[in-house]
Subunit: 99 residues, 2 copies
């Protein structure tokens, strides 16, 4: 199993249009059939010192293995997403885990 | 849907015994039936500037909703895990997302 987790910080978090555009872009990624399970989220209302809730959007995409993840990275829908949406964020933080 | 993601940095990453103990502790959490999907992992071999691969273990636990997550937090198996394993880590970083 390969879990690909990404947190996005918007360049203009005050812009509802940017929120909507990134949400739509992230939603488009779910069409990629190499993904076994896809979760797109926003920060929960939990608050503890160990919780980072500063991000605007997160994705957790589960793949069968690294090969499926690598295919996803090069998938036209993913490449189009990066091309269309990269200007919206100021930072992304990625964690890839295998288990 | 509620996705609870935690990254753990071991106090003594050079200790195989500590790796084994934390892995066993994290594995025990999977018995908690409030969790809809449970992934325990270690850093993948992906390397890009945006990827943080400095942690030793990760968990991604998916819950139906925040109520299920809250029940998990207070579950005896989870409390026992924290009691047994907290001395093993030097840092935890939590991200909770809803979507």
């Amino acid at each position: 199993m390969f879990v690909h987790t990404v947190f996005f910080w918007l360049k203009h978090p005050e812009s509802q249009a940017d929120h909507d555009a990134l949400r739509a872009g992230l939603g488009s990624l779910k069409e990629i059939t190499d993904i076994s399970a896809a979760y797109v989220g926003t920060p929960a209302e939990t608050r503890r010192p160990v919780i980072d809730h500063s991000y605007d959007f997160s994705i957790t995409f589960v793949f069968a293995d690294k090969a499926a993840h690598d295919t996803y990275q090069e998938h036209p829908i993913h490449l189009k997403f990066v091309d269309t949406c990269a200007h919206l964020w100021t930072r992304v933080q990625v964690y890839d885990a295998v288990g």
